[in-house]
């Protein structure tokens, strides 16, 4: 049963995408969108239950263990929220003329094809399949980023496809090198499967694994948006249609992090945990430091959120780099927390942009007066992103910090803390400007639409829940995932 589901899961968004190509009716498309995501969500929960009870499931090149499960759950929750949000967002976008009714079906079909490729990256056990699916996400999402078809959108799409394709070829080279090392030990059969490599990992030649890990780190790091390979990220996040921005920031860069984790575990077993940890720490620190000035000086709200993703991916890399149980657990929790919160922030920003007709934060003023619920959600998301207790990101950042202190990485901790404090101030300033004060003249005073809010409230509820308490079953998944990575 559970094994079959491994095959069925990627098929659901694929079939949904194909069905969407058969119709032009907007209502039918929206219905297909929401129901496809809901079915995916339900089946993923069934699978999660099976894996939680009976351990990892394998079928051919697919395998789902607890590490993958963390990312799969994030993926299906965000896909469902995005679908619900899109229903209302689309209405506004069609009115403004941002989306054109005759191209809708290709938009929806591409979104689901994008989701399908991401599902495969999460389920892939074979590192070659992981790479192919990762390049598949680039191909499907590049068109989506340039979807609005104006000058900036196309520029962002071109930059995205070139930078990530360069990056991901490094990832393929890393995969080939790890394969060469594994094939040298046990022969070609199965030498590309992550679970098979992990069994023989301690006997792999450390020299070649080291080079392979660096190539893979640069490759998947590009896709994850780690600095200095993040050049595509702010452009793509700011130019894509808002639901796509939420998927890019919430899920895609997290899938790339899963790729990094796969290679990190191999490298840690073959050449000792210190080497991959060091590489991760360096990339993590660069990301946190590089993102800070851009966050402070930013005027475009979606670019702000994009740079902020660079910072948070850096924090996850730091957590993995500090390592140990606490650091790894914190990093995994941060992946989920940041994914949920950042998608909520993009949703709230998207509705604010639609209301004011501008992405410039100086033009968005007095949001609280014209759209109280949306403004509250935007403020909640921003407070959480800034790391204010009792929200979920505070918890995971604290764990990463504790792991760093426990390992005695004082310099890294000092840099990390000072940057987080600066970003905290900058982010609250930006949001304060948008939420308070007199509404600007350009603001639309229409009452808030119900459907975008439903998607946002779903995410806000999860965000607040994760801050207050961690459900026991989810904690169990995270614990077992930590064990897979650390031991």
């Amino acid at each position: 049963m559970a094994e079959t589901l491994l095959w069925v899961l990627p098929l659901i968004p694929t079939v949904t995408a194909l069905l969407m190509l058969t119709t032009r009716d907007r209502r039918v498309l929206s219905a297909l969108d929401v129901s496809g995501s809901a079915i995916l969500f339900a089946l993923a929960l069934v699978l999660a239950r099976e894996v939680a009870v009976g351990g990892p499931r394998t079928l051919g090149v697919f395998r789902l263990d607890d590490v993958g499960l963390v990312f799969l759950l994030l993926l299906v929750v965000l896909t469902l929220a995005v679908s619900i949000y899109t229903v209302g967002w689309l209405e506004q976008a069609l009115e403004v003329g941002n989306m054109k009714a005759e191209f809708l079906r290709s938009y929806f079909a591409l979104v689901h094809a994008f989701v399908a490729t991401m599902v495969v990256t999460v389920l892939a056990d074979n590192l070659g399949i992981l790479w192919i699916a990762m390049e598949g996400t680039t191909i499907t999402s590049a068109v989506l980023i340039g979807y609005h078809g104006h000058h900036h959108g196309l520029e962002a799409a071109w930059k995205y496809i070139i930078v990530t394709t360069i990056g991901i070829s490094f990832g393929l080279f890393g995969t080939v090198l790890i394969y060469a090392a594994a094939a040298d030990v046990q022969g070609g059969a199965g030498a590309m499967s992550w679970s098979a490599i992990m069994k023989i990992a301690p006997t792999l030649h450390p020299g070649i694994v080291r080079i392979g890990f660096i190539f893979a780190m640069v490759g998947y790091g590009t896709k994850a948006g780690l600095a200095p390979m993040h050049l595509w990220l702010p452009d793509a996040h700011s130019q894509a249609p808002t639901p796509v921005s939420a998927l890019l920031s919430g899920v895609l860069i997290k899938c790339a992090l899963l790729g990094i984790i796969r290679f990190q575990t191999i490298a840690a077993a073959a050449c000792g945990p210190a080497f991959p940890a060091q590489v991760l720490l360096i990339f993590g620190l660069i990301s946190v430091v590089v993102a800070t000035p851009f966050i402070l000086a930013q005027r475009d709200i979606k670019r702000l959120l994009g740079y902020h993703s660079v910072e948070h991916v850096g924090i996850v890399a730091l957590g993995l780099g500090f390592g140990g149980r606490v650091g790894t657990y914190g990093a995994l929790l941060h992946v989920v927390n940041h994914g949920i919160t950042k998608a909520l922030a993009f949703f709230a920003a998207g509705t604010a942009i639609a209301r004011y007709g501008s992405r410039d934060m100086r033009a968005i003023g007095g949001l609280l007066a014209v759209a109280p619920i949306g403004a509250t959600l935007l403020m909640l998301a921003a407070l959480s992103l800034a790391g204010v207790p009792p929200f979920s990101i505070f918890v995971s950042e604290l764990m990463v910090l504790r792991a760093g202190i426990g390992q005695g990485h004082w310099i890294a901790i000092a840099i990390f803390l000072s940057m987080v404090v600066v970003i905290f101030a900058g982010l609250l300033h930006h949001v304060g400007v948008m939420a308070f004060g007199e509404p600007t003249a350009t603001a639309s005073r229409e009452p808030e639409a119900w459907f975008p809010l439903a998607g946002m409230l779903l995410l806000a509820a999860i965000m607040i829940l994760l801050g207050i308490t961690l459900p026991g079953s989810f904690d169990g998944i995270l614990q077992r995932a930590t064990e897979v990575i650390v031991d």
Binding site: T138, H152, L154, A181, G187, G207, I211
Partner: protein, 218 residues
């Protein structure tokens, strides 16, 4: 074929591959770069055929055929078609002088060989000098992508970079699983397709070349 003879042939092919890479880097006209990358893919197909005869791995024949059809003929033909269709007058447009790029690629080649000499035992897992040649081709391809502004030259760099990875992958003793290699080639084709669509859309909607897109900053 004995192992030494095989290594000698692979090394000779590797030298020719590096030579075509120099042609790509040094190309002052887009046509020359396209022909050079086509010749390079032809050599990759040849290497696959040689390895197939030497190791008896029939999968490699498939790889040789697909590489020949797709990368040596079809993709260069598509690039050629775009050049003619768009009536490109602008040529390579390097960001830094071509001579400087050439010097950098020499550094890359030397560094790759230097890096891999430290890996004694693993060299047995990969035939001949395929590893340093593969690393050089990949990195130089990336260099071409990073230092050229026009879309087509960037695509040529991408193909050269993929060629480097394929060369190393083939020379791994056991050969990569066929399904993976086919998947990778499929991805390259799709990426080229999407890039072509983007180039044409940029041309038709904003009437500019990809090289002129530089508004997004900060």
């Amino acid at each position: 074929m004995s192992e030494e003879a095989l290594h000698a042939v692979i090394d000779d092919l590797g030298a020719l591959l590096l030579f075509t890479m120099i042609l790509i880097v040094a190309a002052g006209q887009i046509y020359r770069a396209i022909y050079a990358v086509s010749a390079q893919s032809l050599l990759i197909a040849l290497a696959a055929a040689v390895l197939a005869t030497a190791t008896g791995n029939t999968d490699l024949w498939v790889i040789a055929g697909v590489t020949l059809a797709v990368k040596a003929v079809a993709l260069p033909w598509v690039l050629h078609w775009i050049v003619q269709r768009m009536d490109i007058r602008r040529e390579i447009e390097p960001v830094i002088p071509i001579a400087a790029t050439l010097a950098l690629s020499v550094v890359i080649v030397v560094a790759s060989f230097q890096l891999t000499t430290s890996l004694g035992p693993v060299r047995q897992a990969i035939a001949g000098n395929a590893l340093p040649v593969g690393i050089s081709l990949t990195l130089t391809g990336v260099l071409v992508m990073a230092t050229r502004k026009t879309a087509l030259t960037q695509m040529v760099g991408l193909f050269a970079s993929e060629n480097g990875i394929f060369f190393t992958a083939m020379a791994v003793t056991q050969g990569m699983p066929l399904i993976i290699e086919i998947g990778v080639i499929l991805d390259v084709i799709l990426a080229a397709l999407v890039m072509t669509i983007l180039v044409l859309r940029v041309r038709s909607t904003v009437d500019a070349d990809v090289a002129d897109l530089d508004r997004l900053r900060g």
